[in-house]
Structures are given as C-alpha cells and as structure tokens.
C-alpha cells in the first residue's frame, strides 16, 4: 500500500501534470494562434511603424497607446525547455510563446489606437520582462491619423 502511495507521489502526479500540460497547452496554443490570425486580419487597417518621426501625411490622434499581455508556459513545454538546456540550441517552445505574446500585445495596441480613431501607430517599442514564472510583453507607441 505504501509502495503504491509512493509510486503515485513520485511518478503518477508529475506524469499526469505533464500529460495535462501537453494536451491543454496544445489546445491553448492552437486556439490562441487562431484568435491572433483573426484579430490581425480584423485590425489590418491600422498601420504600424517603428519610425520615430510621425509621417508628414499624419496628424496626432490622442495619447500614447499601450498593449500588454502576461503569458505562461505549459508544464510539458517547460520540462522540454529544461531538457533543452542540457544540450543547448534554440528552445522552440519559448520562441512560439514569445511570438504569441508579442503579436497579442501588438493586437491590443492596435485596438487601443483604433478606439481613439487612429489608423497608424508610430515609434512602436517592445519591452519584455519575466514576472515570476510568466512573461510580460508590452508594446507602446504614438497613434496618429492619415490626413485625407
């Protein structure tokens, strides 16, 4: 009986967490990518620039806008990333996580600009920070509107 208990504690719980992480993480990622693609298409009319100067054809349209997202890795990929650190190389699991976070932050930035009636955002900056086990990505920029 105590053997069974020990087995459950030592193996079954971590393994089931990995399995849950694998399944839920996969579903979450696929859904998120689907949502990202849909939102990107919906907000395609808001142009984004990394130039510092506001284009000549544009007028100001309100205050600095922000888009932020805090995202967490699933247990399976976190373990996978841990293994990767033994051999070195690219950690794909985190590359896609950051890609999702950055695109989501950009979508929120565009949505904020759109809500102010702007159709461009210039001087976009990104900042990425680790918060506990999660990662935060912020995008910010200055909205402006094309002069007809």
């Amino acid at each position: 009986m105590s053997f069974l208990l020990q087995f459950i504690l030592n193996f079954a719980i971590p393994l089931s967490l990995i399995l849950v992480g694998f399944i839920c993480g996969r579903i979450a990622e696929q859904r998120h990518y689907a949502r990202i693609r849909r939102d990107e298409a919906e907000l395609a009319h808001v142009l984004t620039f990394t130039e510092r100067a506001v284009p000549n054809a544009a007028a100001p349209a309100g205050n600095m806008v922000l888009g932020a997202v805090v995202i967490g890795q699933d247990y399976f990929k976190a373990i996978l990333a841990g293994l990767r650190q033994i051999f070195g190389g690219n950690i794909r699991a985190y590359e896609t996580l950051l890609d999702r976070a950055r695109r989501e932050a950009t979508i929120r930035l565009k949505r904020a600009a759109d809500a102010q009636g702007a159709n461009m955002v210039t001087n976009i900056k990104f900042s990425t920070t680790r918060i506990g086990l999660a990662i935060e990505v912020v995008a910010y920029g200055t909205p402006c509107a094309m002069i007809e």
Binding site: A28, A59, Y75, G132, E136, V138
Partner: protein, 110 residues
C-alpha cells in the same frame, strides 16, 4: 489631461520650452488568490489575465504619477516617454514611466 507621446515631438506643435525629465513609478505586489490561479496556468499554459490586469493597472498608475509631476511643472505635454518594468523581489514588480516635460506652441504657417 496632459498629452503624452513616445515620439520627440507632438505632431502639429513645436516645443517652446523644456521643463526637464519627469517620472512616475509604482511597485506592485500580486496577491495570493492570483498566485494560485497563476500556478494553475503554468500547468495548462496561456494568458494570465489576472496578471495582465494587475500590470495594466499599475502601469496606468505610474503614467498618471508622471503626468501629475509634469502638470505641477506647468507642462503641456510629456514627450519621448519610455516604459520599464523590473522584478524587484520575489512577487513584486516595479513599473516606471519617464519622459521629458515640455511646453508646446502650435506650429506657425499654413
């Protein structure tokens, strides 16, 4: 409400006077309830909405503090605003917003 931009100039205006750098910051801790949810999210993956809201809230507060500092100097706008976030201790983050307070005048010409 003060204008804030992260570009050097405010479109349609020129800088009449520089009033120096202004900043605003907040140090925010997360609470236990959110921590438990975050722990769960770290198994299944995905967005931690509680944290997103928390950070947005704290960042808004930092920006407002920066704006009130600029307003106290009699500024019209804060230009070249930058944001920075850093983890100070376990479970607390500092959010900093800083920029240059300026007085504006409308661009002459057409």
């Amino acid at each position: 409400m003060l204008t804030i931009t992260n570009t050097e100039q405010v479109p349609g205006f020129e800088v009449a006077e520089h009033l120096g750098m202004v900043q605003g910051s907040t140090v925010r801790a997360k609470h236990v309830g959110r921590d438990i949810m975050a722990g769960l999210k770290n198994i299944v993956g995905g967005e931690l909405r509680g944290y997103t809201e928390l950070m947005e809230d704290a960042r808004g507060e930092a920006i407002r503090r920066m704006q009130s500092q600029a307003a106290a100097l009699g500024a019209d706008a804060v230009v070249n605003v930058r944001l920075a976030t850093s983890t100070i201790t376990q479970g607390a983050a500092e959010l900093l917003a800083y920029g240059t307070a300026v007085k504006l005048k409308p661009l002459a010409g057409d």
